[in-house]
């Protein structure tokens, strides 16, 4: 029996590997994606251009401007001379934010009355603009503390912010572990999603069904290539994260691999299910797409799950990518204990069992 399964696994591996184009597709794009997307998927807001409209020529405003100019966050402080120019800089997307210092600013500060500045953000990019606005507000808070110190009085209270797990808020530390899940999913889905559909189109699947192989044996044979290729690719990304990207790996590598294997089985189950359900490759590709795109976008990789409406958060419980991301970020950055990892692994295990059993059932069913 095992030799039968082994023969099938060898055949499946060969059929993926033999075709030059499909071999290329499995190796090159994931590496390019790793290189490009780990740098591209960034929520950092750097090189911001800020338009500055200073209506006040007093000392206090010049001190404030000097503080902004000294900051490395802003690429350019674009000085404008009128309200209209300020508006145009935002409209044209030249500046993401604009700061207007009113005429009476220095006078009010010197009189100890407290003054206000106006900050305009480009709402077309409200997330980045909000973060850039946060930087400016932070600088003004520092500036206030300095003014208070100079006046010789205590600010009353201080707010100290400390970021855990990723102290400098490095996007790479978040994105690269996330890519372990996202990219292996794409590969595993593509390898398995087309395997049955292609054989059906070519008529070889019927031949496979009339061999002594049982459905579950076929299932094992069809699962192995996806699992092997997925684990290999996952390992490459994990290695790259350590050697090239220098992302800390605080938790247990064993836990990471165990969770990744369950995740891949789950993805392969879905891929085989789609494949067994469709009669042409085109349907299989579309099915894989319909699964891949939502699971990726609604996973928490790009935007947090907690921001979704409650009903949709519940819906994402059946999204394997959501669970593996919790594990990946947990194991890489948070040294997550096994008990917490298990909370994310068991839903994937349930999904894997259901989809794999379902596709084994479909293998036979679709023949009639």
């Amino acid at each position: 029996m095992w030799s039968r399964i082994w023969a099938l696994i060898v055949k499946e591996m060969l059929s993926v590997w033999r075709d030059r184009k499909s071999r290329f597709v499995l190796i090159v794009p994931p590496l390019i994606q790793l290189a490009v997307f780990s740098y591209a998927a960034t929520y950092d807001v750097t090189d911001v251009t800020v338009a500055l409209f200073n209506q006040d020529q007093g000392l206090a405003s010049r001190e404030l401007v000097a503080r902004l100019q000294g900051s490395p966050t802003f690429a350019k402080l674009q000085v404008v001379d009128s309200e209209a120019e300020m508006a145009a800089a935002i409209d044209r997307r030249d500046a993401m934010a604009a700061l207007r210092i009113p005429q009476d600013f220095s006078r009010r500060i010197e009189a100890g009355q407290g003054a206000s500045v106006q900050l305009v953000l480009d709402g077309r990019r409200s997330n980045s603009a909000q973060i850039a606005g946060g930087y400016i507000t932070g600088m003004i808070i520092d500036h206030n503390a300095q003014l208070a110190a100079k006046a010789g009085r205590s600010a009353g209270s201080t707010l100290v912010t400390r970021v855990w797990f990723n102290p400098n808020l490095e996007s790479l530390w978040v994105v690269v572990p996330g890519l372990v899940g996202v990219l292996t999913q794409v590969v595993a889905l593509v390898v398995t999603g087309l395997s049955v559909a292609r054989e059906r189109e070519l008529g070889t699947f019927e031949q496979l069904l009339v061999t002594p192989l049982r459905p579950w044996e076929i299932l094992v044979g069809k699962t192995a290539p996806g699992l092997l290729i997925g684990m290999a690719e996952g390992s490459i990304i994990v290695l790259a994260s350590q050697i090239w990207f220098k992302v800390p790996l605080t938790g247990s590598v064993l836990l990471l691999y165990a969770a990744l294997a369950v995740f891949l089985l789950c993805t392969i189950g879905v891929g085989l299910f789609i494949s067994a359900l469709s009669s042409t490759q085109q349907q299989a590709i579309m099915g894989a797409f319909f699964f891949m795109v939502p699971t990726m976008i609604l996973s928490g990789f790009a935007t947090p799950v907690q921001n979704m409406p409650d009903w949709m958060q519940t819906l994402t419980l059946v999204n394997p990518v959501r669970h593996i991301l919790v594990v990946l970020w947990g194991v890489f950055l948070k040294d997550m204990p096994a008990a917490l990892v298990w909370q994310s692994v068991w839903p994937m295990a349930v999904l894997a069992v259901v989809t794999l059993a379902g596709s084994a059932w479909l293998f036979r069913r679709r023949l009639y």
Binding site: A40, R125, G134, T137, A155, S171, M286, V293, T303
Partner: protein, 373 residues
């Protein structure tokens, strides 16, 4: 001339019949964009509202109570009061809390003496974007509380400079308003590219494409006959998406519809040609599907400026993003929907879209000839 039109007409009829009879093209062209837009319109949000934070107050006093209520009254936070530091920190590891606010036991005593009484905020760095936003929100709540405290105790404002923030084009800071136009661009990339990539790859696979090339039909006619019907289908999907964006998600529409139409048409022509090009290179559906994901969907998702800001990326990636048509389309859509017909933004971006469409069409034309030989 008449014969060319008759041939073209016949080709288009054949293609339309194929679309009508094979539901999968209709599904990609019309159902896919609607389903994706609905899912993402609800699911993709950068608005961190009601962020669950733990507030650790080890020694409650009236002063700490006023701080707690300042946080609870803010719509940004959902506060859970905790006595001990330990469960709050565990909650940060498990993801239950996205931030922890620590008020030390001697907070009240220090504040009463006029010393600096520190408040510590711990954030979860595995979600860098939310961490930055939450930091900003916490600073805002704290600054406001400080002002109230000073006023209640009859002191002069201890905050010399205050910031009044105005957000143009998106006053309520709804991330949906800029994400939905971006999502439309991603959907149209998917629809346009996959539609032609898969359909034509199938024809190559079955050999019907070679049969077509062998007929007296010219290459230009052949390609036009393919592109035009799918163009109509894709524009139908676009119209549905815009209807959903305006009707369901209440995205503002400050520009004009004809500009939206022109820009979308330019983008769609480029995407359809990219699909054709992929199918002529790949010639089988498996590879075509893969390349469509890699060359169209992922760049549109990552490099278009839909959520990630290209100007913040390393220079070589930013340079790369300039060849992604979706980048120009996202910029155009965000401007048309939220700001209006700002020609200084729209003209250069629409020009880039036209240029990309033209280049892709020329390459496709050339590749089709090559594959004949």
């Amino acid at each position: 001339m008449i014969i060319i039109f008759r041939r073209l007409w016949a080709l288009m009829r054949k293609e339309v019949l194929q679309i009508v009879r094979d539901p999968s093209s209709m599904v990609i062209g019309l159902v896919l964009p609607v389903v994706l837009l609905l899912l993402f319109g609800y699911g993709v949000s950068l608005d961190a509202r009601h962020v669950t934070v733990a507030l650790v107050v080890s020694d409650p006093t009236p002063r700490t109570a006023s701080l707690v209520s300042a946080f609870s009254n803010s719509s940004y936070f959902q506060v859970e009061e905790v006595r001990d530091r330990r469960p709050a920190e565990d909650g940060l590891v498990s993801g239950r809390y996205r931030g922890v606010v620590l008020v030390a036991a001697d907070f009240d005593a220090k504040a009463a003496r006029g010393d600096e009484a520190p408040i510590q905020v711990l954030l979860d760095g595995t979600d860098a974007n939310t961490a930055r936003l939450v930091k900003g929100y916490a600073e805002g709540v704290w600054a406001k509380w400080l002002g109230h405290e000073a006023r209640d105790h009859g002191l002069s404002p201890s905050v010399p400079v205050t910031v009044e923030t105005r957000v143009w084009f998106n006053e309520a800071l709804e991330s949906r308003n800029f994400l939905v136009p971006g999502l439309i661009a991603i959907n149209m990339t998917l629809v346009g590219t996959i539609l032609t990539a898969l359909v034509v790859a199938r024809e190559w696979e079955r050999g019907t494409m070679e049969a077509m090339i062998a007929t007296p039909v010219g290459r230009l006619e052949l390609l036009a006959g393919k592109v035009i019907p799918y163009f109509v289908l894709g524009m139908g999907g676009m119209a549905l998406s815009v209807a959903i964006a305006l009707g369901l998600f209440h995205v503002p529409m400050r520009g004009s519809f004809w500009v939206l139409g022109v820009v979308s048409a330019l983008f769609l022509i480029g995407a359809l040609n990219l699909g054709l090009l992929i199918s002529t290179i790949a010639k089988n559906q498996f590879v075509a599907g893969q390349i469509a994901i890699v060359a169209a969907f992922l760049p549109a998702f990552m490099l278009s400026g839909f959520v990630f800001e290209p100007s913040s990326m390393p220079a070589w990636i930013e340079a790369l993003s300039h060849i992604v048509a979706a980048r120009y389309f996202v910029t155009c859509l965000q401007t048309i929907f939220m700001a209006g017909d700002v020609w200084s933004v729209l003209l250069p971006n629409a020009g880039a879209l036209a240029l990309i469409a033209l280049i892709l069409a020329l390459i496709t034309l050339k590749r089709t000839r090559k594959s004949l030989e």
